[in-house]
Symmetry: C2
Subunit: 304 residues, 2 copies
């Protein structure tokens, strides 16, 4: 499984970066291969200040080593450990965040990962995690419906209970308590997934990863040529401030990375190139496009 | 003491806002008075998009109520509690953060606060906390020396051990582990201060609060007319990203506020109006002004 998952996440990274680079048209992704002193490493692919993308990062990591007891606790999966004293671990995953320039083209995130604790071949615990979520500044119902629908179809091919469960999980996970808003309009999220044959879960996770491009690319194509003004950019910058708040305060991957001295540039590659914070920004006018977006972040909706 | 401290922080807020508004010249601070459902309230004074200040916030709060056991633990002062079951508390303080437009004029923060747990008049525990720290994007040694010197003199009037102790404490407190940098060039920081007559500590804290304007205003006057270009603004925006990282990830007041549902606009008023994150931003050239600043954040120096 370690080998299969590594191959899958690298293939996903290659395919996604190739498609995004072709769409953007401003040149290839910058590729940084890095190693982790404690074991393993990764490959970060980033496109900055492109034609479509202000900042697009697609990261793969394959890391192993020994966890501190605190890190083991934060990492989860504890309920499956047969030997809690064995703190060796293996983790691999692909993670991406795309922040487009255009305020009508949504920010998007996806992440698929596999963990093991204990020995290769006979792990004390293993699990899959992942998901994908959409963060528009302006709401186009058909875009959100498409993004959810493609992920629902991927889920449904494996278990009809997956989409409703993982859609609700995303609504809970991508919630910003201090704003009483979700980060965006959700998608799917799951963690500690180990309730059936690992090959079946691997096939599901692979299917999700392969659903990313068909779920997202049509949204870029539909919105990239729409007219917009400085007021739309200002609203996008404010929404990006919320994205920063979620990632730095609540996101498990980011907060875990910051506390375990991972490669900082890869951890914070998810932050937007620019963001803004206005004190007591006026509440958008009732019925405006901005108010519609806010409403969707305050009351999760059924999209698929 | 509750009454004396409340009067002091309100007077400090009035005096500082009046001086900053006069310096800025773009109109008075916006004043928001707010109440807290659980008890108490505050007054937030903010100037946005002024002539000098992109965002300047000066906040006073006077709050009381009952702590959760977790909040009591996070709040500190535990070593002095005679009745750990009494979770009633009182807290008052003044807190300010100023972010100027001009990249040569430093960002600055100051905060002075008083806590009590238990009954008024016979508290189970009480303590003072506070400090002031400077966050320049460009380093002018004489500015940093002046800021430290004014605070050193305030400290020295009360105890010659204060400045060296509180200067070191600031260097440790305003540290960003994941960047291996301090937020800026420090100043003073202290917490849980209750080792002598409360009247003596009150006099010290009041002296510090009154030192803010003489420590900071000359820096604005010296730098506000210097020439600068877009490269200086870009560096300032990158440094502001670090400010956001410190405040959202590490700052005790901010993280405590986010978790205890305080007034969110007052808590996050400390964030800059704008900030940026570049993936793998190039390390500044050796000997450049930007490199000098970084060096100061990586190796705390003696400034006074």
């Amino acid at each position: 499984m370690r080998q299969s998952m590594q191959e899958m996440v690298h293939a996903a990274q290659d395919e996604i970066c190739a498609a995004l680079a072709e769409l953007d048209g401003s040149g290839p992704f910058r590729v940084d291969t890095w190693t982790r002193p404690e074991g393993g490493g990764g490959r970060s692919c980033v496109l900055q200040n492109g034609r479509i993308f202000e900042k697009a990062g697609v990261n793969v990591s394959v890391v192993h080593g020994t966890l501190t007891p605190e890190a083991a606790k934060a990492m989860g999966g504890g309920q499956h450990l047969t030997d809690p004293k064995d703190l060796s671990f293996f983790a691999t995953g692909v993670s991406l965040v795309l922040h487009p320039h255009h305020p009508m083209v949504p920010t998007v995130h996806a992440n698929y990962r596999y963990f093991e604790r204990g020995s290769e071949g006979a792990p004390a615990a293993w699990w899959f995690g992942g998901g994908a979520d959409l963060t528009p500044s302006y709401l186009f119902d058909e875009d959100v419906a498409h993004f959810h629908q493609v992920h629902k179809e991927a889920c449904d091919r494996h278990d009809p209970a997956f989409y409703p469960t993982f859609k609700d999980w995303a609504d809970r996970y991508f919630y910003i308590p201090h704003r009483q808003e979700t980060r965006g309009v959700g998608g799917i999220f799951f963690d500690n997934l180990c309730d059936r044959d690992p090959q079946k879960l691997f096939a599901f996770v692979k299917d999700c990863a392969q659903s990313f491009l068909p779920a997202y690319l049509p949204l870029v194509q539909r919105r990239q040529s729409m007219a917009f003004g400085p007021e739309h950019k200002a609203w996008q910058q404010q929404r990006r401030g919320r994205y920063v708040e979620f990632n730095l305060v609540y996101d498990r991957g980011t907060t875990f990375g910051l506390r375990t001295a991972g490669r900082i540039e890869s951890i914070l590659m998810s932050l937007p190139a620019t963001a803004s914070w206005t004190y007591c920004a006026p509440e958008p006018e009732a019925g405006s496009d901005e108010a519609r977006l806010l409403l969707a972040t305050r009351t999760p909706q059924a999209w698929a």
